[in-house]
């Protein structure tokens, strides 16, 4: 099965290839390498010091898509990790123990700095505490992001993050990179970030059209690639989103549905909102269940995990450190449960979804704990059909096609019945 490639896809592929080539050349270029996380990433700051980011979560999901994660996870479990804990962590540790061969088949350089941006996921802290032992030569910088427990950003939380940036993170960046912090350089990258963010919001907003020109979950994970990872704050990133936006506008103008691995979706039967990350080990197989049924995801919480721009936040060169702090605080899993329910409620309404689905991830408590309550609350508020399936991020042992298919068949039957019923009553 070959996915139909659009220009933006080819562009992203090239960006990734170039990035990984750059990573393999650090011994020659002398560039320093920063391992960090997607939620609350400080990519602009990393590039302001001419360092290169590596995202272990992305490596793990890529390993999952390439069917390598199972071996890595077993390796980590032999090392001492429990079956019960996050499969991203185990995949990353296993990959490291087996030689740290990255997604492109080339060896990844070890980190010079572990940037522990502890944002919306407790496991991040434990993950890098473990990596610190596996990479004893790396410096580690902790950036603790308080949770939005009150449902809003508290001023002291903002100040706390800015204080950490100035007293902990930036001094360590300076020490590792050997370069002085240049606020103007950071500000210029933040301006580019905001441009890309504007375009990303337009892309996701396009799902208000019928048919939706995008799948905001399975397609969405590709759309967020550049902005959530190594490219935010670069001109290449802006160029990518300009191209993507152009393609989406074309599809809107021509009444076309989203692109799937089997081509453009011909008929949009169901519009869904989904909570939770996708499964990566059987990504195509998982996606196919939905597009075969004519189901399109018009919004997903997962595509907000590395930054939430719907409500107007943009990286800003004015008070750049404050802007980074606000960004970190606003990531999806750093929002409290009532906020998450409100957001999902809003997306279901805004994108005129006729169903809500939870893909509950076995090894991700940050997302999963509370999802059953979220689901019931939305069902109560909106009287919308809800569905629930369970998979894992990158542990192939927890992907059971028949179980998932059975549950989804029932869910789609429910949606069909509802459509018929509402059709008659209206």
């Amino acid at each position: 099965m070959t996915i139909q490639k659009e220009n933006s896809m080819l562009q992203q592929k090239q960006m990734l290839a170039d990035h990984f080539i750059e990573l393999t050349q650090v011994q020659e270029t002398g560039k320093k390498v920063v391992y960090t996380f997607v939620p609350g990433n400080l990519t602009e700051l990393i590039y302001a010091f001419d360092m290169l980011p590596v995202y272990p979560e992305i490596n793990a999901l890529q390993s999952g898509m390439r069917k390598q994660s199972g071996d890595y996870i077993r390796e980590a479990e032999e090392y001492g990790f429990s079956e019960d804990v996050c499969s991203y962590v185990k995949c990353d540790v296993g990959m490291m123990l087996q030689g740290n061969i990255g997604p492109t088949g080339q060896k990844l350089p070890p980190p010079d700095l572990l940037l522990l941006s502890y944002t919306g996921c407790f496991v991040f802290m434990k993950w890098f505490e473990n990596l610190k032992y596996l990479y004893p030569d790396a410096e580690i910088a902790m950036l603790h992001i308080p949770y939005q427990e009150s449902g809003r950003i508290e001023p002291n939380a903002m100040q706390y993050i800015k204080d950490q940036l100035t007293t902990e993170v930036i001094p360590k960046f300076e020490r590792v990179s050997g370069k002085k912090f240049d606020p103007d350089k950071l500000a210029s990258k933040m301006m580019l970030s905001a441009q890309a963010e504007d375009l990303l919001v337009k892309v996701f907003d396009s799902a208000q059209n019928k048919p939706s020109p995008i799948d905001a979950y399975f397609g969405g994970v590709y759309y967020i690639g550049p902005i959530f990872t190594a490219f935010r704050g670069s001109q290449a990133c802006v160029d990518y989103y300009q191209e993507l936006h152009k393609e989406v506008e074309y599809r809107v103008a021509n009444g076309l549905g989203p692109i799937t691995p089997d081509g453009t979706l011909k008929e949009e039967k169901f519009r869904l909102v989904v909570e939770g990350p996708p499964n990566w080990t059987h990504f195509r197989n998982f996606w196919k269940i939905f597009y075969d049924m004519g189901a399109v995801f018009v919004a997903s919480s997962y595509t907000k995990v590395g930054g939430l721009y719907d409500e107007g936040f943009r990286h800003s060169p004015e008070d750049a450190l404050g802007s980074l702090a606000e960004y970190c605080l606003g990531c999806y899993t750093n929002r409290n449960l009532p906020q998450r329910v409100d957001m999902l409620d809003n997306w279901i309404t805004k994108y005129q979804a006729n169903g809500f689905l939870v893909n509950s991830i076995k090894s991700c408590n940050s997302f999963s704990a509370g999802q059953l309550v979220i689901m019931r609350e939305l069902e109560r508020r909106l009287e919308i059909p809800v569905g629930f399936i369970e998979t894992d991020l990158v542990d192939p042992r927890y992907y059971s096609f028949s179980n998932i298919k059975n549950r989804l068949d029932s869910f789609f039957q429910m949606l069909e019945q509802r459509t018929l019923y509402t059709g008659i009553t209206s």
Partner: protein, 389 residues
């Protein structure tokens, strides 16, 4: 309340432990209309502030096998730890109705999201997810924590109108200092004479500190000391172990008993870590008692899987504990699906190997009913050390 014999004193602790309706707290509350009950989840909260606001801090550590889980399983998937299920069960079955508020310390994603569930389910009650700094610089993390504690004090005041004021907070710190001193003495006694105070009895006494008001608990503990002096029990041929990883969801009483019966005196554990979280006496003569609590947290906290280890490796600190308590080994005893404990385990095990400390590990859940396999493991561990070390 004074006890003349040790069994009765322990029975009192057991009665409180088994009372999932927290009737002691309800009775305490009835005595004065400004009194409120604040429940808190593991691990640490600055109970002094709650006390100073004329409120009773009550530890909620799940309900083990003492309540059938009916509602709880509808709230959490099978791959999430057990504690939040019984907490939900307690709430849904009305056992927490007399509680006026709940504090959820920032220790993991499950407790964090449980706070959100409580927000959605208990809109009339005070719900606070209390974030602790993972940065231990006084002018960074300390400053943030001070603001969090000020916010907590202000919000508590809104509940009963009682302002937290300096001399009263100093008094609360003083009385909790005394509790910590007494509990440390008890821990030292337990470590020195583990044959005189069983692990289960020790645990039940500790749990009492999270149920009774401190004014009742301190005399109760003094009473216990007097009774312990009278006990005459012969030591048995058992090894000495430290339990690590049980700081949140609690192991069943039967499990604690099983480990000891299998030949392992438990001479240190982290089951009720809140009680010895602060390792130094907190000043009580200051005009800035909140600052004193902040300093205690930032500079004098015990190590924990929920706290960023920075440049103080937890493995080395655990090894130090083993040395201090003259323990023969460590039992890594963590609840299933517990991220903090289980993600620490590989490095802690490696640290024990580095320090030539024996260890073994297993997982449990709070309502576990079968201990046979663990008994075999613990027994073999004890025999190995006794025979070959």
């Amino acid at each position: 309340m004074k006890f003349d014999n040790f069994s009765e004193a322990i029975q009192h602790a057991r009665t409180l432990f088994e009372d999932i309706s927290f009737s002691y707290a309800s009775n305490w509350k009835k005595q004065n209309s400004t009194r409120h009950i604040i429940g808190f989840l593991p691990i640490y909260i600055p109970r002094e502030i709650i006390h100073s606001a004329n409120m009773l801090p009550v530890g909620i550590f799940g309900a083990g096998d003492r309540i059938p889980v009916v509602h709880g399983d509808a709230y959490f998937q099978s791959y999430i730890c057990h504690l939040p299920r019984t907490v939900i069960e307690l709430a849904k079955s009305g056992h927490l109705n007399d509680f006026d508020g709940f504090i959820f310390p920032a220790i993991c994603d499950v407790i964090r999201n449980l706070s959100g569930i409580f927000m959605l389910d208990n809109k009339q009650k005070f719900i606070r997810y209390l974030d602790y700094p993972q940065n231990f610089e006084g002018n960074v993390g300390g400053k943030f924590y001070r603001q969090e504690l000020n916010r907590l004090s202000t919000d508590l005041e809104k509940l009963n109108g009682k302002k937290v004021i300096t001399n009263e907070l100093n008094h609360s710190i003083s009385i909790y200092n005394e509790q910590r001193r007494l509990l440390k003495l008890l821990g030292d006694f337990r470590s020195e004479f583990p044959h005189k105070l069983s692990a289960v009895d020790y645990y039940l006494i500790q749990r009492t500190a999270h149920t009774m008001c401190v004014e009742d608990f301190n005399p109760y503990l003094e009473n216990i000391f007097l009774l312990l002096d009278k006990l005459d029990v012969e030591p048995e041929d058992k090894i000495r172990v430290i339990i690590s990883g049980s700081f949140c969801e609690q192991p069943p009483i039967g499990l604690i008993k099983t480990i000891e019966n299998a030949g392992c005196y438990i001479v240190e554990d982290d089951l009720q870590l809140n009680l010895n979280w602060i390792t130094k006496e907190i000043p009580t003569d200051t005009d800035d008692p909140i600052g004193a609590l902040v300093d205690a947290y930032i500079n004098h906290s015990i190590f924990s899987s929920t706290v960023y280890e920075g440049d103080k490796p937890k493995g080395d600190q655990l090894a130090e504990q083993v040395k201090d308590r003259k323990a023969d080994g460590v039992v890594f005893c963590a609840p299933s699906f517990c991220d903090p404990a289980l993600l620490d385990r590989p490095q802690l095990e490696k640290a024990m190997d580095k320090h030539h400390i024996r260890h073994f590990s297993f997982q449990y859940h709070e309502n576990l009913g079968q201990f046979h396999v663990i008994k075999e493991q613990a027994g073999t561990f004890a025999d190995t050390i006794k025979l070959w070390e």
